[in-house]
């Protein structure tokens, strides 16, 4: 079983209903050393990354759109790699998402965001977030230290 060594890989069609089954498999492999809160945040960060790819990377819902997620634990960090061949993340978007989206005024309801939190959550959850465009592929590397 993949769960024994906390590593695994899963390829899904780029569709919202495919995310939860992948998340179930991922969650089973997140080491218990992280505790419930961090385990939730790791799952959340990956789900947000996948949602972002499905929404923005494949806006025309190509039938052949696939996303591959692989993960492994090296004793110090849980590392997740997300690859797809959709549109690239626009330059600077990931950096721009670092934090400030949560700095809204909670007293002004109209200003409270209903969307656009995904990449900020990815940045907040993981210790390292690295994005590369390799030819026609996107590769997002995420890692969370114990």
């Amino acid at each position: 079983m993949a769960a024994a060594d906390n590593s695994g890989q899963c390829t899904i069609a780029a569709s919202p209903d495919q995310v939860a089954p992948l998340a179930d498999r991922l969650r089973a492999d997140i080491p218990a050393v992280f505790g419930d809160d961090d385990r939730y945040m790791i799952e959340l960060g990956v789900v947000e990354a996948l949602n972002n790819i499905i929404l923005h990377g494949y806006p025309s819902h190509r039938g052949d759109a696939r996303i591959t997620v692989s993960w492994a634990f090296d004793g110090g960090s849980f590392r997740i790699s997300v690859t797809d061949n959709g549109l690239p993340i626009p330059e600077g978007r990931l950096e721009a998402a670092r934090g400030q989206v949560f700095e809204f005024d909670p007293e002004v309801l109209e200003k409270v965001p209903e969307g656009g939190l995904g990449l900020s959550i990815v940045n907040a959850v993981f210790d390292d977030v690295t994005y590369r465009r390799l030819g026609d592929r996107n590769e997002l590397e995420l890692s969370k230290r114990v």
């Binding site: 919202p16 209903d17 995310v19 939860a20 998340a23 419930d36 809160d37 385990r39 939730y40 945040m41 799952e43 959340l44 789900v47 947000e48 949602n51 499905i54 929404l55 949560f102 700095e103 809204f104 909670p106 309801l109 109209e110 409270v112 965001p113 209903e114 969307g115 939190l117 995904g118 959550i121 907040a124």
Partner: protein
């Protein structure tokens, strides 16, 4: 797809989710079901998240949208959040936006007052 169960306690509609995850696959259905209830006259709402293990930012956005839909005429109180889900509210500062209480009884009392 039926996504919510509603029980009335006096003027207060207590809404429970019948799914364990509120995410990009069902957030719109949730929002539409809630907005339909609001349009039907339920404006004192309790959202009981006892059965919910996971919410992502789409789900969170849908709950924000419900609050905005009330437009200041009514209220929405959230109760029975599991610890990790509450952490999502804190991370995104949504714990400052919503009234969050520990129990259904406290939520109904708050919503009905």
């Amino acid at each position: 797809m039926n996504i919510i169960d509603i029980t009335k306690q006096g003027e207060v509609a207590v809404v429970s989710l019948v799914v364990r995850r509120l995410d990009a696959s069902n957030a719109l259905a949730f929002k539409e079901a809630m907005v339909a209830r609001i349009a039907g006259g339920d404006r004192r709402l309790v959202l009981d998240l006892a059965g919910v293990d996971f919410i992502d930012s789409s789900g969170l956005g849908a709950i924000v949208s419900v609050l905005k839909n009330l437009g200041g005429n009514g209220n929405l109180t959230i109760c029975n959040l599991k610890g990790p889900v509450l952490n999502l509210f804190k991370l995104t500062r949504m714990d400052k936006v919503f009234t969050i209480v520990d129990s259904t009884e406290a939520a109904v009392a708050r919503a009905g007052s």
